[in-house]
């Protein structure tokens, strides 16, 4: 019988949050710069 998968969902949530912050933050920075040109 297979053992239950380890419970490490908090790492997954952290990685998805960090990715969102970096990529959405980068887009917002570009958008901010675009307003000045």
């Amino acid at each position: 019988m297979l053992a239950d998968p380890p419970s490490n969902g908090e790492y997954m949530i952290a990685a998805y949050l960090v990715t969102t912050v970096i990529l959405v933050g980068y887009w917002l920075r570009l958008w901010q710069k675009a307003r000045k040109v």
Binding site: P6, M12, A15, Y16, T19, I22, Y26, W27, A34
Partner: protein, 236 residues
């Protein structure tokens, strides 16, 4: 009308299209989250942490694609002296640094529960960190040199040197002892993944490529617009 003003319209259009494309990429990224978390099976041995794979690997793909294209554009720039190539190289380096930041943060977050450590100084991880620093240096160099021709020439040389690291990074898992797993998609034989996982990964690759294209297009348009505005100021 000043010819520089006439060029601003197309530059702004490139920026608008780039922003729209990258926004589409961000919507696609939300779709990848739903697909990865809700409709892709959880890997039995690694648990939920394995789902970091759907962000980490495509981010690495976009970063290495970006830095490879910086190198190619830099070689072409030194040959053809076309400022569009320099502008593209700078835009690609900028986007590449953003994707590297995703790769270098999601990697340790994934490594901790699986390897038991956030970081190890093996060839793959160390070379990737060096590549990131090299392109941060590339952008710092561009900010420090004001003469456009000199800036383009100096940064082209750094861009080419950075590109030379890319094949070493890809092959480092074969060449050196490492904790990092070997490629499971970008390898000579067929991908070794169950179909549902492969589908999510390929969709994520597509989304990250759209994001890369959108970011580069926006950066390119912004650089063009800033150059034209500078020309207008100098003419005035």
């Amino acid at each position: 009308m000043n010819p520089s003003d006439a060029g601003l319209g197309p530059a702004r259009r490139i920026v608008r299209h780039g922003l729209a494309l990258s926004l589409l990429g961000l919507v696609g990224l939300a779709g990848v989250y739903v697909l990865a978390l809700g409709f892709t099976p959880t890997e039995a041995r690694q648990g939920l942490a394995q789902k970091i794979f759907y962000l980490h690997v495509p981010a690495a793909w976009s970063a290495l694609l970006a830095f490879s294209l910086v190198g190619l554009a830099s070689i072409l720039y030194l040959w053809l002296q076309d400022p569009r190539l320099d502008r593209f190289a700078a835009a690609s380096a900028n986007a590449g640094v953003a994707f590297s930041a995703v790769m270098l943060t999601t990697g340790p977050i994934w490594a901790k529960p699986i390897w038991g450590t956030w970081w190890t100084w093996d060839a793959r991880l160390t070379l990737t960190l060096f590549l990131f620093f090299l392109f941060v240096g590339y952008l710092a160099l561009r900010a420090a040199v004001h003469d456009p021709a000199e800036r383009a020439r100096f940064s082209a040389v750094v861009g080419i040197l950075g590109m030379l690291l890319v094949p070493f990074i890809h092959l480092s898992v074969y060449l050196f002892r490492t904790l990092h797993p070997q490629p499971i998609v970008l390898k000579p034989s067929a991908p070794s993944l169950p179909p549902e996982m492969l589908r999510t990964l390929l969709i994520s690759f597509a989304v990250f490529t759209v994001l890369y294209l959108g970011f580069v297009m926006t950066r390119y348009g912004l650089a063009l617009a800033e150059e034209l505005q500078e020309e207008t100021r100098n003419a005035g």
